[in-house]
Symmetry: C2
Subunit: 752 residues, 2 copies
């Protein structure tokens, strides 16, 4: 579909419509909601990483003046009663429900056990201390390999996976095993001149959004539930609430407030259903806001993982075979993103022989959640092996990648055949970037490169629009705006209508106001919601042509919409601009509104590569990032500033994974760094400017060639930094984060 | 268009969707808006009915701690500077602007002169007293006939109308003169056997909505203005603000809050632009709420009027000629509803010869505004003349009306030819109603009848909808819901989709969320917004048929939507219900959303007749309404309870006009009863149950036959009560209200 088009709005950088509201503090976030008679909720959380709940006594808490209600897991409609209705989904619903408020067991420190609604947050907090929970403490298991061992403490009795396709009667912590295979890896390894193999370890890390989770619920006596919430997907919250509360979706209105970051972590519900049942119980609106510690301990970080990868190559630099074993921590309930890791790990390479095995394993940590290209960053640490092979073969590492680069027609290990992709273009641009050949300029410095792939998703989006008499369009769409997507949505309409982006006024609707729209995630918003907006414009244009035909008393078949105007195809003298026509709608049938929904196929995957220079202090092991360049294929960059923002943000998070971030657990499974002071995310003081290079290899499956840009930039940084550290120090790091202590340890080990 | 249809939802009485929220106090009205940093505004109003403003000194007020801004008329963009751009509209804009904040003159007691924004309402009020306004007091003119005399005090120098089509160089208080004429009235009067002629006087009365005017404005530094307001039309507020503030409509978002009554009085803006400029000045949100006295003195009541009517009839009971002279008080600025009065006064009658002259006259009272069938209630007081003729000719008054009743093909005096109407049916049902022949049951009692006509309007409405996976539809429409219109809107969608009204969830959108929609007024919402919802359903059905075709792998031409299901026209075995299909949307292309706009022609006028029994206390002149029946043609009653509610509400307001309500002015033009205690509206303690009879003569111009029901019931009560008083006492009242003192005076006069 994507022709080479001349764009007028697409590719420019208009000021974002919500900019002033956000920088002046006028934008309304979940924390800003205040309703008459509103109560405040607080959640009691487990002090143990693994325990059986023997009893919960709420009497004293209920008796505290100002306390209006106390609820526990028993107050959620039980999934167990609904197995007939829900089938196999009942198990997942039970997990979701038990994660919201624990059932008979707590599975991680911070697991929600009970909740209080009170006249203010202080009383609610005081009441938490009066809830008497009797626990039978059980041994926790925190590491994925420990959890897979026979005799490990077991979290969920119904899990009985042993390995692929095998179920045993012996309970296990393995929730599932998946395998992708292509060609004959054994044969491939036999053909190899060089084989590298390594184990990798990545830490549990959090998305680290600045705004903590919040939810305000009002359950009206007529059974209508309204929830104001910071979420990546209002409809997804609605769906989960519908299941958890056994309430039809149409009885629930979810109002998405502005969001202070999500990165995948604000999709699953936590406190939303709790606020809802507290509201139902009290008849009042109930607001819950998490503390930072609750966010770290009680929401969904991305999994720690154990990864073993083996790659073979011949002397010509052709990768002959690759194998990977991925074991990802699901946290307390199944659902790690190991599948996505398995899809992405070898995707930049055109491999004849490869196999990936992935294991989803429960451990006594919070249930993991999506986090920007979930699962792929862990796996991409194995990109360091490509660097090792290049070194052994004395081939430039980018050249090695180019010799094996995936391209149109390459079949991915997980099945799909690549359409036109930009892997080669990204690698070439990386190689040709001045950074790649610039002098390092000092001792203890090294340069690393790496590449990453993310498939992106499409999913469903809806939009509607109405034409204003002043030559503008009001646009409603359903995607939570995290990175400027209101403006990119508006730009699609502006481009098609031939007007300025400022003349389209975008609004994000709630679940009663706009058609179903999936989450802001999967790098899908510009791709799919943008497409919905493109289609809305087609709907408007069709109607405007009919209006022009009416004005001119000609057939609407004779009218086309070109360059912001209706024109007669047969009479070049007949032309009326959009702005002029908007003033004549009253005379030609009234207002014009448009609508569209899309569920687009044609998703285009994206590649990002990094060049990173580091200096490692040989005395402390501290790594300083000196220069960082990210090259990424956007397909088509709708608003280049926001694309660059995504590239920079993703890179910085990747650097955080690489150097600093981890959940630090003690032996009892208690997180010892549950604050942003101790959970160390990089700040701008730690970082150089992240230089960006946008490559545009149009996605043939999208009208403008859009691919999606949000996720892929987080994938290569950890490997690129590891490669740079190697070239600075001579030590190959195999464990994230590569914190000063660990790097120093490896340096000392190497020195002997 | 309207076939006799079998309805499943239309004509039933579902519970209103917003009912629980409203009775539990959860519904959000303008008064509920609280924004961070919000200031409170108060308006300084003129103590004089007519004065020149010599100077306004705001220094002391500005110096008061807590005061953040003081504005006057000079702070509104001057219309004078924009004459080139606005043409003749500049004069109207100047009037609107000067009514919002006075220019060089104040024209009525209560006229807004300046406004203050302060940290709270008390400080703002205190500051008002510190604003020093120097006035040159001018003589006021309060009565329409006085205002028309030579030498009357003149309000607006640019008014120079003398009479029809004549402009003189002599300024005048007459803003305009209109005339409708048909046949040869002089000839008609020559053919008459009996001629009656009388002068009538009606008082200035207020709509009396319970919720006072309120507005909260936030003018963002990026030039976006948001206004939360109680209004009958968010888009109309947007348009007025656009003109008054010289700001494009797309820069303004108007959020219609729930409304506590409007009746026509919440269409023109008063405090909305004031809150806006105070917000612009301070950079903070500013909220203004009127007091009851401000509402009565400073908003738009309906005009007092002087009416002279002459009607002739022959012995056979045929009306041979009619003439009316209507002089309506416009209040401070032109724009009384005299035109509508002129359209309606003789409309129930098929007259060969008639003439109406209408005069719009400015006086020193608040600028009049719309009030339920504006202008028609005043004029319909002349229905007492029909009673006089009937008495003189000894013909039953309903029979007299039936002999002359307007019907399909009758040309109205103002031009249009009636399509199918229900005048005869309403009169016949009135005559056949048991009330008409029931014994009066006591002395000093009398029974009166009267009929009224209202033309109703269409105008523009928009709606959009989305289908939910639980077999329901979320509906967005743009009409402020005053009398249950959310539910009637939902019922249109439900009827067409073949689902329950409860399965359609209606929401009223703001000006950014929904397509342009005109005011809730003119009895148009059920007619036009209902029609938009009907069309939305057609759009949904078309798309659902395409989805079913996809599922069945057949052509969508072969699929029809019948009885809540898609069916194959060629294969009777293929049928999928709406509920089933909503679960399969994901597999067939994603969500389904619909949209529609309408600007419908085919408006159908409506008739209402009353039978009223009164008892008049001969010692005090107090009139007690004993029994009241209203018969009205609804065309098609979508939700009969709400139709009955409109009939009852309109009747009660008409009774208020008849017996109690008036602006009582002293000689200086100061309203002496500016509170609801003194401005006496009827309460349920004053009234019997209002019995209703809905007649359904389908409007051929609407898919379901809807006519509109909100306004016509207010028209006949005053005349019906006057006729009843005559039959109880023998005195014919010619002045509203027929308060005890006035009735007693007439009784005593008659006694001599």
């Amino acid at each position: 579909m994507a022709d080479v088009k001349e764009f007028k709005v697409i590719g420019t950088r208009p000021i974002r419509h919500d900019g002033v509201d956000k920088v002046t503090g006028r934008a309304l976030y979940g924390g800003d909601i205040r309703l008459t008679g509103m109560l405040h909720g607080k959640v009691l959380r487990s002090p143990h990483a693994h325990a059986r709940i023997k009893s919960i006594n709420i009497k004293k808490a209920l008796a505290l003046p100002g306390v209006k209600a106390v609820v526990t897991g028993k107050d959620l409609p039980g999934a167990a009663d609904r197995i007939a209705e829900l089938g196999e989904g009942a198990v997942n619903l039970k997990y979701l429900s038990n994660n919201v408020l624990a059932g008979d067991k707590v599975l991680y420190k911070g697991h929600a056990v009970a909740a209080v609604a009170a006249v203010n947050a202080h009383v609610a907090e005081e009441a938490l201390a009066l809830i008497d929970v009797k626990y039978e403490v059980l041994p926790p298991v925190l590491d994925v390999r420990e959890a897979m061992k026979d005799g490990a403490p077991l979290l969920l009795p119904e899990l009985k996976t042993k390995s692929l396709g095998q179920k045993t009667e012996t309970p296990s912590n393995v929730a599932s095993h998946l395998q992708f295979k292509k060609g004959d890896p054994e044969k491939g390894f036999r053909e190899a001149d060089v084989i590298v193999e390594k184990e990798f370890f990545t830490a549990t890390v959090h998305q680290g959004y600045i705004e903590t989770h919040n939810a305000t619920a009002l359950w009206s006596p007529d059974g209508q539930l309204t929830v104001w919430v910071s979420t990546q997907g209002a409809f997804t919250v609605r769906q989960q609430l519908s299941e958890l509360l056994n309430l039809p979706v149409s009885k629930i209105k979810v109002v998405p407030m502005e969001i202070g970051g999500g990165f995948g972590g604000k999709i699953r519900v936590y406190i939303e259903p709790v606020a809802a049942i507290l509201s139902k119980r009290t008849g009042k609106p109930v607001k819950i806001i998490m503390t930072r510690t609750e966010v770290l301990e009680g929401t969904g970080p991305t999994p720690g993982s154990y990864i073993r990868v083996k790659i073979g190559a011949n002397k010509q630099g052709k990768l002959t075979a690759a194998e990977a074993y991925l074991a990802y921590e699901a946290g307390a309930y199944p659902g790690s993103p190991v599948g996505a890791g398995a899809m992405c790990i070898f995707a930049p390479y055109d491999l004849e022989n490869a196999q990936v095995d992935g294991y989803d394993v429960v451990v006594n940590k919070p249930q993991t959640s999506a986090y920007r290209a979930p699962g792929a960053t862990n796996a991409a640490l194995a990109e360091t092996l490509i660097d090792e092979i290049a070194e052994k073969l004395k081939i430039d590492p980018i050249d090695l990648r180019l010799r094996n680069a995936a391209k149109e027609g390459t079949r991915r290990l997980d099945g799909p055949v690549f359409p036109r992709i930009g892997c080669v273009e990204v690698l070439e641009a990386t190689k040709n970037h001045p950074h790649y050949t610039a002098p390092l300029g000092g001792p203890n410095r090294g340069r690393g490169v790496a590449i990453g792939f993310w498939f992106n998703v499409g999913l469903k989006s809806s939009a509607s629009a109405s034409v204003n008499s002043d030559g503008t369009v009001s646009l409603m769409e359903g995607s939570t705006d995290i990175g400027g997507s209101r403006t990119t949505a508006a730009m699609h309409v502006a481009e098609e209508m031939g007007i300025a982006a400022e003349d389209v006024k975008p609004t994000v609707g709630d679940t009663d106001q706009v058609g179903y729209t999936d989450v802001t995630g999967g790098s899908r918003v510009t791709f799919a919601t943008g497409w919905a907006c493109y289609e809305v414009a087609q709907d408007l244009k069709r109607q405007l042509c009919e209006r022009a035909a009416k004005l001119w008393e000609i057939s609407s078949d004779d009218v086309a919409y070109e360059d912001g105007a209706c024109v007669s195809k047969s009479d070049t003298g007949k032309r009326i601009t959009f702005k002029e026509l908007t003033q004549k709608l009253d005379d030609t049938g009234g207002p014009v509104v448009g609508r569209a929904t899309v569920d687009p196929q044609g998703v285009g995957g994206a590649f990002a590569a990094n060049i990173v220079d580091v200096e490692v202090d040989p005395d402390t092991g501290k790594t300083q990032v000196l220069r960082f360049t990210v090259v990424q294929d956007a397909g088509k960059a709708i608003h280049p500033s926001y694309v660059e923002g995504q590239m920079q943000g993703g890179s910085v998070q990747g650097i955080g994974w690489a150097l600093n971030e981890e959940y630090f657990y003690d032996a009892k499974g208690v997180m010892r760094n549950a604050s942003l002071l101790d959970y160390r995310m990089p700040t701008c003081l730690d970082l150089p400017m992240i230089d960006t290079v946008i490559i545009e290899v149009p996605n043939p499956g999208h009208p403008y060639g859009v691919r999606g840009v949000g996720e892929v930039p987080i994938i290569p940084p950890a490997a690129a930094v590891a490669n740079a550290i190697y070239h600075a120090t001579g030590v190959r790091m195999d464990r994230l984060p590569m914190s000063p202590g660990r790097v120093l340890e490896e340096i000392l080990k190497k020195k002997g």
